[in-house]
Amino acid sequence: MELVFQNLDLFLFLFLLALGFSIGRILELRHYRSIRQREQSLADILAFTNRFPPNPVDRHDVRLVSGAVVISSDYFKQFVAGLRNLVGGRFRGYETLLDRARREAILRMKEDAKRAGYSMIVNVKIENTSISGGRAGTMPSFELLAYGTAIRPARSA
């Protein structure tokens, strides 16, 4: 017990690392399950990066739809990224983090469109904003925003 108190810094660090890894891993796997499942169920809402719909219609309703996600790294990912900083290579931890964020943002945008009764979104764009501002010592956190123009054939004659 004395050993723990004498090296409290080290034990705290190991504890945070283990916590970051285990909780982060559980949440990530759960999130991916949810993403895959919702991607299937929202497959009927089509998103295009083109500015105009592939099947042009004369008259249509339009509406701005968007989906935003704020993500943050965990202690484990940040530590591994710190080691990566020394040797270079793929930041795998951040790759999955950003992949989840992009897909989640698109899903939220599609949900927004579906709720409003639209089934097609054109001119989809993804923006990101750093919340932590990239300052040293802060946990990297970003907002990812997916937005586009939802269109449907005009209902009002």
């Binding site: 497959a43 998103a47 592939p54 484990f76 795998r92 790759e95």
Partner: protein
Amino acid sequence: MRFENRTPDESVNYGIEHPLKEFAWLLGGVLGGLFILSLLLGYFAGELAARLPYRYEKNLAAEFGFRSGNGQPDAQAAAIERSLNRLAARLVPHMALPDDMRITVHYDDSPVVNAYATLGGNVVIFKGLLAGMPDENTLAMVLAHEIAHARLRHPVRSLGRGVAFAIVLSAINAGMGHSVASNVLGNAGGLTLLKYSRDQESDADAEALAAVVAAYRHAGGSSEIFQVLEHAAGSEPGRVTMLSTHPLSQDRIDAVAELAKQRGWALDGPRTPLDAVLAGVHADEKPH
């Protein structure tokens, strides 16, 4: 025409590799690299430090505020220091010190069983160790060993190595590097954390033995010091810090005996008793 948004191919944008595998590789690689780097840097820093002119080492010792003892020296402590320095003066002519190197022996009246050499030719002997000395020959072996460390520039080498190591550490973590650096550079001028390698210890043993033989005409007392330490460790292990800074090993005792045999030195002879002042040093009563 029919359109669909296909689900993303999950093998492209991110790896499916388990994150712990990457973690293990990175940590192992980085720690291994740092280990090799710190060994290399430490070696060169040590060699460089040993080539530092001695007067700079003296300035360093002054700069780190080297002081011995705990508080005001009383008359008895001053007398003990005089006796110790007299003994050192008897050994120094046999040790081929550089011209500008002066050995100063300090007495510390704490009950720790230890002695150490530090920057600037300063040698510190603790009361705990002094109280266990059976005769002058054994004490001379201890003193000669510490003087040999000073002559071989071990304290400044160790300091150079420690500082280089701290620099490597501060590359990863500024706080960690800083705490190591301030440890190495001595908290409150103690400089007791300087550690010597096994080779340095045996080099110092060999030099000390030669000096003791030259001064007393026999090697008596050279192996007793280990027994004194072992005895003290048996009664109160926590106090015998000398065993952690000067690791005890049968190899060292054997090496000393072997060296004496090779050179044809007498292994023992008439012992010189401690002078009245030094013989009057007794261990404290154990605190209740």
